[in-house]
Amino acid sequence: MKKKDEKLEILNINYSEYKTRLTKKYRMRKPYKPDDKTRLLSFIPGTINEIFVKEGDKVKKGEEVLVLEAMKMKNRIKSPTNGRVIKVNAKVNDRVPKGMVLIEFDPGK
């Protein structure tokens, strides 16, 4: 685990630039993405049990749109926004990973 040859880079801390090594964790930090209310992402890997909406449906914020089964719980997932369903990217019985876009909405009335 010798890391003697890691090159020095510039790290800006409060307007001063420091010559130093950057850590792997620092390089791999997740870039910030603000919450996108027009897309519903799976919060956990699991299986789609039921889908209550189809493309074109009008939904209200907080309305239940699908059931995602994970860790022995049937999670009833709510719509993040008012609007219309543009796209449904999963079918019943699909196994989905974490962070997959399940439903896309058009928030405009």
Binding site: L8, I13, P45
Partner: protein
Amino acid sequence: MPIDQKIRELQERRKKILLGGGEKAIQKQKAMGKGTARERIMILLDEGSFSEYDMFVEHEARDFDMDKKSLPSDGVIIGTGTIEGAPIAIFAQDFTVAGGSLGLMHSRKITKIMDHALKMRIPLIGINDSGGARIQEGVNSLAGYGEIFFRNTLSSGVIPQISVILGPCAGGAVYSPALTDFVFVVQNISKMFITGPEVIKTVLGEEISMEDLGGAKVHSEITGNAHFYAETEDECFAKIKELVSYIPWNNERKARNMEPAEPSQECNIENIVPTDPTLPYDVKDVIRSVTDKSEFFEIQRHWARNMVIGFGRINGATVGFVANQPLELAGVLDVDSSDKAARFIRYCDAFNIPIITLVDLPGYLPGIDQEHAGVIRHGAKVLYAYSEASVPKITVILRKAYGGGYIAMGSRHLRADFVFAWPGAEIAVMGPEGAANIIFRKEIMASDDPDATRKAKVEEYKTKFANPYVAAAKGYVDAVIEPCETRRLLIHAIEVSGNKAVSLPRKKHGIPPF
């Protein structure tokens, strides 16, 4: 029956038990680079010092055909011995017997030796090598683990507790090492995780190998669960012996003093730290310029490398070092480095080890990911740990000490006993560039030549504030010293603070930002 026949019977019984799980199981262990439980104990402890207890303990389980199974020593070896003369209580799980799984009697043996260690006030070493709970014994296994964790907690800060992960340590079992003071891991042999890869795959559909999930490297570099990494079991045991030489047997003693010795490098301590505050250097070079024989026993070397912690000796006495590492991430404080420093400060405080803090940091690491990861909560741990520590605290400000970083790294305000600063120290509310941008923003914006004004203001701030004399004028720094004087002053500081006695306001305990 005459006595020699009785003795022969005893020897026969012993021989049977010593075979453990049998030749085949032993060969499997060896093929993986692992020793047997008793072999490991013999290598670690002083020769001939080991006294084994509960060799003939048998389980009493009856469900699931357990009554037909005979498990030698119920899969764990316990006893006492010495390491370089220091008394040690030890247990080592025997993977060759039922996979080292923990059942009721197995756990009773472990809690027996844990109780013994606490009663006798001697260090406890646990060699973990187990497949986990013995499913056949059901809730008894869970009860067993619970009793172990409780004792780990009660003994925490009273006797040193060391965990050596020389095999799988999964599920609930892994919480015992997590509660102990130091965890040793060995490449390709240690495996620690709460839920294994098979379950993760089935339940969550995520695929990962055992090594990538919870191997030695993962815990040494990423999670910070491990404190010492070794490539082989022998290297691991050598490290354990070294650690034991630095720490006291219990919290009412001081660590054993060795022969005082000079640092092996010449005093070119002045050439290590560049005067330009943006250039890096290895702070371990500074540490080695002041310790006996230039020896430094680093802890958690591969994790949160922007903070350096470890033991050294000053004139024969063990001291703990907490130092920013400008070579990594500019030596900033962040979530991981705060945790690393805070826990080590608590350890030194619990075991009467003076703390020497070397300061050179530009502050905390800015960033959304840090803020959302709770750098506030984690950073506060360092402030808490320093404030509550009642061992002698000596701080040497090598170079930068800006803003919150200055406060957190053992400042006078957190009741450091001695605060020294090198001539190149810059103790200021922030770096000159940052200060110019904020304090003089209006002037810079209103100027005809903002760049020239900014440059001038940066220079002005640098000259006026980026030095140790402003803080020294207020008594926040006790003395500005030449780097060459550092070791002499550290020796003196430790000499005069041997009987330090402070008392905290009476309370059951504080509520640190866990």
